[in-house]
């Protein structure tokens, strides 16, 4: 009995913390003050060189701490409570279920890059085949919950929404196309093992008590923060100089319009690190005093990431280079097409 009360108290304490974090974010929304830095280039240029990052970081964290706290807390909670057994159980059952799960659940599971490639392998081996496996792989970094939350808070929720739609489409197309290519089929054949119902062992997930799960969720959020924040801060330092010294005219000349989309889509990939830096960097380049100079180019930049090299290397160990190359080309083409489309439709190319 005593043990039970202790657990209830612990659960309530953690839940209270979560509610406070969510409440703070909503409160900041109602107050309508910006969660992103507000310094203008002219203000920044007024400081000595060494002081610019400090001013910018102070500016950022005085606004953005709530947003980061919220993002990491929510990501931790979702990761802990999303039913992972559903994925593992149904991923191999049929092609349609495979695609559905890849697109629907990948964003919640893959905030941590170390789960991504193993799942890709598992899905490929266990029956859903190469199509859903590729969809899953492309969907994961492009639209994971942390990336979307931060895109929304730092840049705009419209862009975050478009980013999801574009990523889903590109991931689905890439999966279907690759599953139809001869080299894709060859990989599938090579790796397919006998269907999952021959499993000799059981999976019986033990659910720990609520307080332990909540605590684990917070701990995982903290782990993510520890992994990501150092790079994030480094990104902010670079961005502070970009915002201060990269003239608006240069961006307007080279990084907007059709050329801007093409350039952004090409550079976005290799520069991508799974650390959300691309969001801060994209903001530093295309957002000036709250106005997005080219929505199209910014989207292409953000979408460029699924064909980054680190991931491609890991995948090429399982799938052959031909498959990797095919999905990289499709992902790149997708970012160009959606960049141009969104830029034209929103009249911000």
């Amino acid at each position: 009995m005593k043990e039970k009360t202790k657990r209830t108290i612990r659960s309530s304490l953690i839940l209270a913390f979560v509610i406070i974090v969510i409440g703070l974010l909503i409160y900041s929304r109602i107050q309508a003050y910006s969660l992103a830095p507000t310094s203008t280039p002219i203000e920044l240029r007024g400081y000595p060189l060494w002081a610019i990052p400090i001013v910018y970081l102070y500016d950022y964290f005085s606004h953005g701490t709530i947003c980061l706290l919220f993002a990491f807390t929510v990501a931790g909670l979702i990761y802990e409570f999303v039913p992972k057994e559903v994925i593992t159980k149904y991923m191999g059952s049929s092609k349609a279920a495979g695609y559905g799960l890849a697109l629907g659940i990948a964003p919640f599971l893959t905030v941590c890059s170390c789960t991504m490639v193993p799942l890709f392998g598992g899905v490929l081996y266990a029956g859903a085949g190469i199509g859903p496996a590729i969809s899953f792989l492309l969907m994961a970094p492009a639209a994971n919950i942390l990336a979307i939350l931060l895109t929304g808070e730092l840049i705009s929720w419209e862009l975050a929404g478009v980013r999801i739609i574009a990523s889903v489409t590109v991931a689905l197309v890439a999966g279907i196309v690759i599953s139809k290519t001869p080299w894709g089929k060859a990989i599938e054949k090579e790796h397919q093992i006998n269907s999952a119902d021959q499993k000799s062992a059981k999976v019986e997930i033990v659910k720990p008590p609520l307080d332990e799960r909540l605590w684990a969720a917070l701990k995982f959020g903290g782990y993510l923060a520890k992994q990501i924040l150092p790079y994030f801060i480094l990104g902010l330092i670079i961005v502070s100089y970009l915002e201060a010294f990269l003239p608006e005219e240069i961006i307007k000349e080279y990084l907007t319009g059709v050329n801007g989309v093409l350039l952004a889509s090409v550079v976005g990939g290799p520069l991508y690190t799974p650390t959300l830096v691309e969001i801060v960097l994209g903001r530093g380049i295309w957002v000036r005093e709250g106005i997005i100079l080219s929505k199209g180019a910014l989207l292409a930049w953000l979408m460029g990431q699924p064909y980054d090299f680190a991931n491609a290397l890991a995948v090429s160990r399982i799938a052959k280079w031909k498959v990797v190359l095919t999905y990289m080309v499709i992902a790149w083409a997708g970012s160009v097409v959606f960049g141009l489309l969104y830029g034209t439709l929103s009249e911000s190319l």
């Binding site: 990761y79 802990e80 992972k84 057994e85 994925i87 593992t88 159980k89 991923m91 191999g92 599971l109 941590c112 170390c114 789960t115 490639v117 193993p118 799942l119 392998g121 598992g122 899905v123 081996y125 266990a126 790796h191 093992i193 006998n194 999952a196 021959q198 499993k199 000799s200 062992a201 059981k202 999976v203 019986e204 997930i205 033990v206 720990p208 332990e212 684990a216 701990k219 995982f220 782990y223 399982i318």
Partner: protein, 90 residues
């Protein structure tokens, strides 16, 4: 003397969370040893065909006790591991 097999299923090379999971199992094993229970810890590669054939798709890190996956996609505490291993032999 009773014996329990615990597989820690993770990525190769091991990711940080897989290492933490293994440490939790090792700590639990150390404690259970004092109460006369031998825990055999095995490391398994989540990407190997044998593991996928045996368990299907898993989320790393996963922990299987006597060929039954009990933990998936999270790092348990060593106390929890201790409890689970004890339950498994009852």
């Amino acid at each position: 003397m009773k014996e329990v097999k615990v597989e820690v299923i993770g990525t190769e090379p091991p990711c940080m969370r897989c290492q933490s999971a293994k440490k939790a199992v090792e700590k639990a094993a150390e404690k259970l040893k004092q109460s006369g229970l031998i825990v055999k810890i095995e490391k398994a590669n989540i990407m190997s065909k044998e593991i996928v054939q045996k368990y299907g798709v898993l989320v790393s890190p996963a922990i299987a006790i006597n060929d039954t996956v009990k933990v998936m996609g999270r790092v348990p505490s060593s106390e929890e591991m201790e409890r689970m291993i004890k339950e498994a032999i009852e």
